[in-house]
Amino acid sequence: MSVNQLLPFISTAIMLGFTVWVLQRYAVRRAPPFLFWGIGLAMFASGSFAEAYLSLAWNQWVFFVWYLFGAALNAAWIGHGTLNLLFRRPWVTVVTAVLVIGSLFAGYLMLKAMPTLNTSVFTTSKPVSEQYGTKVVPPGETAPAGTQTATVTYRGQEVTVIPGLLPLGSPVRLMTPFFNIYGLITLVGGAIWSAYLFWRKRVLPNRVIGNVLIAAGALSIGSASALTRFGYGELLYLGELLAAILMFAGFRLAARPQPQEAAQPAVASAD
C-alpha cells in the first residue's frame, strides 16, 4: 500500500473521531447545529472511507456512498450546521426542508444512475475523483496521449468524450454543484464571518483562530478537489487529510471554554 492510498484511511479515522465528538455534544446540548455538523461529518467520514476502499478495489455501492456523501452532500450539511448557528430564524427551517428533500432527490437520482455506470474504465491506479466524470473533448482539441476516447450522442449531437464511471449528463452530477456552492458559502463563509466578528471585537481569540482553521480546512479540500479537475489528483488525498486535521482542530479550539465565560456558541451569532 502506497502513502497516497494510506492517507484517506487516516482521514477517515480522524473524521470518525471528529463525528463522534460532535454528536456527543449534540447528545448533551440538543442544539441543532451539532446535529447538522454531525450528519455532514459522518458523510465526510464515509466518503473518505469509500475513497480509500476504491483506491484498492471496486464496489458499486461503495462508489454510491463516495459520490452521494463524499462528493455531493457533505459540505452542504456541515455548512447548514453553521447556518443554523448564525441565523435562528424561521426561514432556516425552510432551508432545512429544501436540503433534506434535495438530498433525498439526489439519492434517488444516484440510484437511477447505478445501472448506467461504466465500470470498464475503473482503475485503482488513479483516485476515483479523477475517474467518475465523463469529460467532453471540445471540438478542435485532442485528448491527452494514451487516453481512451469514445464518440457518443449527447443532446442530438455526436461528441468525443473521455469515458468516466458516470455517463455524460447524469442528472445527479448536475445537482452536485448546487450542494457544493451552498456548502462553500455557509461553511467557509460562515467561519470567515464568525472569525471576523470576534476579531473586530478583539474578544475570544480561540474562536478567531478556531474559525480561521475551520475555513482553511474546508478550503483545502475545496481547492484540492478543484485541482483534481485540472489533472492534479495526487493532491486530493493530502487535501482531505489537511481538511480533517484543520477542521477538527478548529472546532475543538473554537469550542474550548474560556475563563468565566458563559456557555456560548462556537461561532458568532448574527441575530
Partner: protein, 52 residues
Amino acid sequence: MGTQTPQQSKSHAPKDSILFEKVVPVALIVMGVLTVLLILFAAAVLLGFIHF
C-alpha cells in the same frame, strides 16, 4: 471592586500581537478571495462554461 460586565468576562486578543494584527486579517482576506474564486469555478461548471 466593580461588577464585571459581560464584555469584561470574555478573554481578549493579546495587544500588539502579530498573529492577531497581521496574520489573521490577511488570512481572512486571502480565504475570502479563494472562496469567491471557488464559487465562481463551481458556477462555471454548473453553467457549462467549464466541461468536466
